[in-house]
Symmetry: C2
Subunit: 143 residues, 2 copies
Amino acid sequence: MKVGELAQVARCTVETVRYYEKEGLLPAPERTAANYRRYVQAHVDRLRFIRNCRALDMTHAEIRALLERIDHPAGDCRAINDLLDQHIEHVEARIGELRQLQDQLVSLRQRCRNERPIDACGILQGLAAMETEVRPPRPSHLG
Amino acid sequence: MKVGELAQVARCTVETVRYYEKEGLLPAPERTAANYRRYVQAHVDRLRFIRNCRALDMTHAEIRALLERIDHPAGDCRAINDLLDQHIEHVEARIGELRQLQDQLVSLRQRCRNERPIDACGILQGLAAMETEVRPPRPSHLG
DNA sequence: GCTTGACCCTATAGTAACTTCAGGATGTGC
DNA sequence: GCACATCCTGAAGTTACTATAGGGTCAAGC
């Protein structure tokens, strides 16, 4: 299986596949005489796993931690449960932040219902008058 | 007012202030004989405006568009209203995405209530079995 | 045998909004 | 005159890719 085919079954681009290899998430496969990557089923499974994690917005570091456990199973899966719990918290926190943001945006928007000259625009006035908040360094990686 | 003081009143770092200058969001101030930046009240107002926009998760491009209108007022403020409406939609869309994500994560988490050996971990099994989704290129910049 | 087109390769740079670092100058208090 | 905080510039690092340049491989068709 060549890289294009692998990318297709995993629904990503060939660039992403090669990138994961460089990052050490996906093991480097054998090469053909022409130096083409030659993948086997294990690569498909692993890449699917990675893409599923990414679909859940996990970072490469989080995915790496999971793969580590899979590659070197030891003890129970508590660490995995914990990782997922933390991730769920991240997402929850980010939703909360965005909700608050949304409230602010909507109330800002209501300051200018009609088309006024720029100088009278309630939105710009609101943005100028807002109490500048400390932007906490993102606790989550979710943007 | 030196850069450290400006950063303090605007609640950001001096690096951020200098970065905004390089980006053209904040105009370059006069310099002292020792080549120190010397800011005046207008800079404070502008930086506060920028930080308020950032607190609302606007991109530099969006902020630039707003500043443009402020610097060259022309016509009415319809474009500003539109920009904000679009931004509100972005945030709304992202909240929806994260909610869906959260549902998936929670149901994944429920697959492993107790501490099992790695091989039996319901979470890892779930991640391996998930139908790999096409990750749509982010329509919003909100991560 | 030759061309065309789809696919593969590497290495490098670009994205967003900063942060960090290296290496050095300035200003202030004691 | 020295320590220490603060200032300066320029370059590189962050995250997870995407894009681009410049080239090799392979199968099909003429």
